[in-house]
Symmetry: C2
DNA sequence: AGGGTAGTGTGAACAGTGTCAAGAAACGGA
DNA sequence: TCCGTTTCTTGACACTGTTCACACTACCCT
């Protein structure tokens, strides 16, 4: 440990794990997930193509760690949006927060649902995604015992989840017009009306 | 034209374009879109890796043609599901049809929304996707003048679209349990209740 | 009927990818 | 000080999509 060297440059690279996550996040955000390349991430971090394997094992491992982080952020955003007196406005605010989260960083949001690229059995990923759903479920069913999403009691929560998730993915895929600007516009102009058709 | 030869073996291969589309559809369905490989498709069709370029130009061209076909099929399924007297059951049946279409062939459904892999400007693709939305919009707004999705008048249609699209993508990504069986189960057991929360 | 031409395929090549096996360098603790 | 472990590099392998030059076939036109 270089106690009196530069603070975050302890080892060969310093904190390569964090640097790789940051490079990957930036790459995904600017070029999309389908342009993701482990070698390009390593290149941006200034290391050799095989270096990431020691920290993540696999490209899948890196992406899973990134997705887990994204789910933690989503959970935070939903809990922030869920503070209100009546459940109705809480649900509405959470819906806005959900779509806002997706539109703010489309690459990150898209990654979270590319299950073919992720390791769903990863504990951190599993816990983070579970917590995000729990945050969405709480304003609907209150603090009742947490139930898995396939429980019929969760139907109203799943209705909320489905409508905002569908709106977000459709918007990001250009269904309401090409480009990110159209998605943002749709979220401003028609998302409130869309949420009004939901009666939980 | 080999007028009296075997019927579908007119040229070197016969109808390579159709064969490639079929191979690609099969590959995507059995291994997922992320495992798509143009070389593998050519291999299955028994031709060299460069052969597809004459028919589709690009991997993107092939996938776009496949997605256009999928959108045509979706439009057909929605129009079949939209025959009923009152609009309410028409909407409900279309929702079931939409999710059923997605679950029946997850690979095909996933491809339709991977805009990064497709050429959205392709005329056939554009027309087919437009028609599918039109089919979804008709039970809601009747035979009023067709409006683009970003028109505020389409808000109720977009609410329907969002909720079924979100449900389908969540189910296929394992949000309601792992594997395709869980998705099918969720569609049977909780989709009707979810659709009940929509008041258009 | 015959020749030119457009259409349709092959094969080799190039740059780029993920991953693995060895080995070298730097660090931590004995 | 020296040993062991962690971290990273190098080189290799099997892939991928795409392009190029070339060959062959089927059709159209004269």
């Amino acid at each position: 440990m270089s106690r009196n060297g530069p603070p975050d440059r302890a080892y060969h690279h310093g904190d390569l794990r964090a640097a790789l996550l940051a490079s990957a996040a930036a790459l995904i955000e600017e070029r999309g997930i389908d342009a993701f390349s482990l070698r390009e991430v390593a290149r941006r971090a200034g290391v050799s193509p095989a270096a990431p394997s020691h920290h993540f094992g696999d490209a899948r491992g890196l992406l899973t760690a990134l997705a887990a982080q994204a789910f933690r952020d989503l959970g935070d955003a939903l809990e922030e949006g869920g503070v209100a007196d009546d459940p109705e406005t809480r649900i509405r605010r959470q819906g806005i927060a959900y779509v806002g989260f997706a539109i703010a960083r489309p690459g990150r949001f898209g990654l979270m649902w590319r299950s073919a690229l992720l390791d769903a059995a990863d504990p951190a990923f599993d816990q983070a995604s579970r917590r995000a759903f729990r945050a969405l479920d709480r304003p609907v069913r209150g603090d009742a015992d947490p139930a898995p999403p396939h429980d019929p009691a969760c139907a109203p929560s799943i209705a909320c989840w489905s409508i905002v998730h569908g709106f977000a993915t459709l918007a990001l895929n250009g269904a309401f017009g090409p480009g990110p600007e159209a998605a943002r516009l749709a979220a401003m102009q028609i998302l409130p009306a869309v949420l009004g058709y939901l009666e939980v």
